[in-house]
Point group: C3
Chain length 354, copies 3
């Protein structure tokens, strides 16, 4: 990528320093002093860039690669031309991600509007709110009564922190997010426009229309959770809505009241999880999936994009389709439907569709 003004390259690190930070091995110590400043995909890496490879298919790209270092597994090291320094890692993808964070620390959190250690004069902070030292509050943010915010946390412009909300340390609340009736751990990232802690959707049919069921639970967000832009997480009805440690949630996801999500899950954009569903640990959910209320999804389950989950899913399985079924069955159904399409296309006199 042509150099951009939003994220300037690092001032420079020596490969020996990088390898040490990664807990990885620099193969040839002659390269210890080579200076690197950025990350790039192998296809575009130039002098100063670090890239990585995961398979032998990168052989051709390596031949012309101008990177200043390649991160790879020991088994692939022989692919790399002599001229390119090699850093060995048993998990090159993770090492590459760590390198990126080292070069671009500003990109590890939502974009900041103000400098360090500053509370914008235009912010409206209730006098009873408690802010630890090093809290940054950007312009126009509103912080309610008795809210508590931990050291190193940044509250973005136009964001709303409700009364009594507690936010841990080193969190980032991006611009225009609202956090109500919630307790957040440390290292939590909430992106722009996310809405946390509003009412769940609950009504009882009455004689003159629906009667609102008050939603008096909370949202509990554990350490190192990341929540995408314009995602909505309702607070619990009489229980809490819980997002487990390290779970990553993409943009425009909807999470209903009382939903409990385990640790280290990845939930892709536009997923909808209905009320009181229970999601285990390490679950991966593709984009636009819908999950019925009150179902239980076991640890380690993987769900293909756009699936509809109507029943409990056993731990460790892969599922797809609506209704969701074991992934291989779903893929077989998909293949069958596609082959029917192709057959039709070939029929003499058949309609030409594309």
């Amino acid at each position: 990528m042509e150099q951009n003004v939003f994220f300037l390259p690092h001032e420079g690190l020596k490969l020996a320093e990088l390898a040490e930070f990664l807990g990885a091995e620099l193969v040839n110590s002659d390269h210890a002093g080579v200076v690197v400043r950025s990350v790039a995909p192998i296809s575009r890496a130039r002098a100063g860039d670090v890239c990585y490879i995961l398979s032998r298919r990168s052989r051709d790209e390596l031949a012309t690669c101008e990177a200043s270092a390649v991160i790879c597994d020991k088994a692939l090291a022989d692919l790399v031309p002599q001229r390119i320094p090699v850093i060995l890692s048993s998990n090159p993808h993770a090492a590459f991600a760590m390198a990126g964070g080292l070069f671009y620390p500003a990109a590890l959190r939502p974009v900041a509007f103000s400098g360090e250690s500053e509370i914008a004069p235009s912010a409206v902070i209730d006098p009873s709110a408690k802010l630890e030292k090093g809290v940054i509050v950007e312009p126009m943010a509103v912080i309610g009564a008795h809210a508590e915010i931990g050291e190193g946390t940044r509250i973005g412009a136009h964001s709303i922190i409700g009364p009594n909300v507690k936010i841990g340390r080193d969190c980032s609340i991006a611009a225009g997010a609202s956090i109500l009736c919630a307790l957040l751990g440390n290292g939590v990232i909430i992106h722009n426009g996310a809405r946390i802690g509003q009412d769940g959707f609950g009504y009882a049919p009455g004689p003159r229309g629906m009667i609102k069921i008050v939603q008096i639970g909370r949202v509990i967000i554990q350490d190192n959770v990341e929540i995408g832009a314009n995602t909505t997480i309702d607070r619990g009805a009489m229980d809490d809505t819980v997002i487990g440690e390290g779970t990553k949630i993409d943009n425009q996801v909807q999470i209903g009241h009382n939903v409990q999500i385990g640790r280290h899950c990845a939930i892709v954009a536009q997923v909808g999880i209905a009320g009181s569903a229970k999601i285990g640990n390490g679950v991966q959910i593709g984009g636009q999936v819908g999950i019925k209320g009150h179902v239980t999804i076991g640890d380690g389950v993987q769900i293909a994009a756009q699936s509809g989950i109507m029943t409990d899913l056993a731990a460790g399985g892969q599922y797809g389709g609506t209704p969701a079924r074991p992934l291989n069955d779903y893929l077989r159904d998909v293949a069958q439907m596609m082959s029917k399409t192709r057959v039709r296309g070939k029929k003499p006199g058949g309609e030409q569709n594309d």
Copy 2:
């Protein structure tokens, strides 16, 4: 639930008072003076809590229940142990909802940031706007020229009320919502980040790209409508977009221009309703449903989650699937597909998928 700081329990009501408020019967007048403060599910109800039951399946939970009152239908009253006061109601769910609202009036509306009867100094209100007495405007809200806002309405922090917008009495506009080109009745609730009254999506293909079709209609929102967080409702093109009285709309719903929705509908999260669709009264629409433009959906229709509605639907029916068909047919198709999956799973030598 452990007691939380966001919604403190009521200072206490006598059961006689509660029963009178509910228009329900306290079976044993000896219990008239028992004090209650909160609502809870039967599984966790303790002293001071009111719970409710809907079927005989609650028998076991009642045996150990510590609630200070149970709301139930006459036919279930014999299930309740002598020690627990009984309130008889022909609609226990509705009565329980009403009790919740009585105990937690603050939870009937979006969370407030400021006290009563206050206009935040940081709000920007056009001098020509008319605010009735008792209007609360929270920090940073912006109210445009000639807007009119009725008594008892609360305008949330960072919300935007466009020029000429009219909002009735006792409404709540939550933080960060925007209301443009709209007329709202009384008792309307708009949650955080909802976007009301922006352009519909209309273009005519022209010689040098798409030409914007101006959207000069309005959004009409009738009394007691509730609209969820980050939901978007476009204004009409040359007609109005209308949401009927008492209709409840969940988070992240998209409603296109000229859509007309009847009274007392319930529309679950992430539904999309394309332009000029007409939805009758009392319609219930499950999450992630898509409704084609210009279709008509009859009164009382119920639509299963994730369905795709491509045609008109007759009043009173239940439908599901894509394309939507009568619900029993859809469920039979689902069952058939799932049974095929199970058969495959049992085949000797078949792949193990979960």
Copy 3:
């Protein structure tokens, strides 16, 4: 539509002026001085209104139509009663759209809160930001360091323009939108609550949870793009996310990192496009469609609503369903499924579903 206060009719144009503006022919020059002020559908057009027709099916409506002019193709002109002035256009829909924009110029952009040529005193603008003349900044907007904004652009209330962002001329950023790490061309419209340029969703699995992959690309938005309310567009990971000239994107669309969208596409509400997908020019995508990451969609492709795109699609084709297949095949499958439903409904003793 009854006249509304949000968009007042034009003070009046003569038909000769209108025809000239449209590059169209007024059939009878006796009508040159007829004054028109607004647009309306043929069914409701009255004196002062311009309407249009596209087919002979409008014959009955024309008989009672009170419009002051009808725009139509030459082949349909004989349908129009003598009393109604006729404007001939080879593209009546486009001409009608142009007429609407001429009558209601204020409706061509998001609703304005302030008058012309004004920077609201409550806006927070970094001193290093460069605003050309004629830039309007509405209340509470925040503009970061080194941002550049072109002449005639309007920055809405509560919107956020990040550091170093560049916005061209005659753009409109509506209230509550956030624009980060992005370069915008001229004539771009961003609606309320849209989120542009936050992190993409990228993680590498590590020994103690997912490691964030820094997202250091940009969002490039070319001239005359329109982006709907609460839509989210992530910035690139190591490449850029690109939206091509003239492309129109509806509300609540999610566009992942590195996605490249061509020119003059139309993308309807709630579509999700996963990372690194490539969309050609002139592509039309129906509502709630999901597009898998890394697929390529050819120029001019049309995709039916709710489809799931798992593979590359050849240019010029029409597709539908999940998995997406040629549209005619999909429609045949739909018809087959619906006919099965009808047969069941007719079976003697069969269940009555609607």
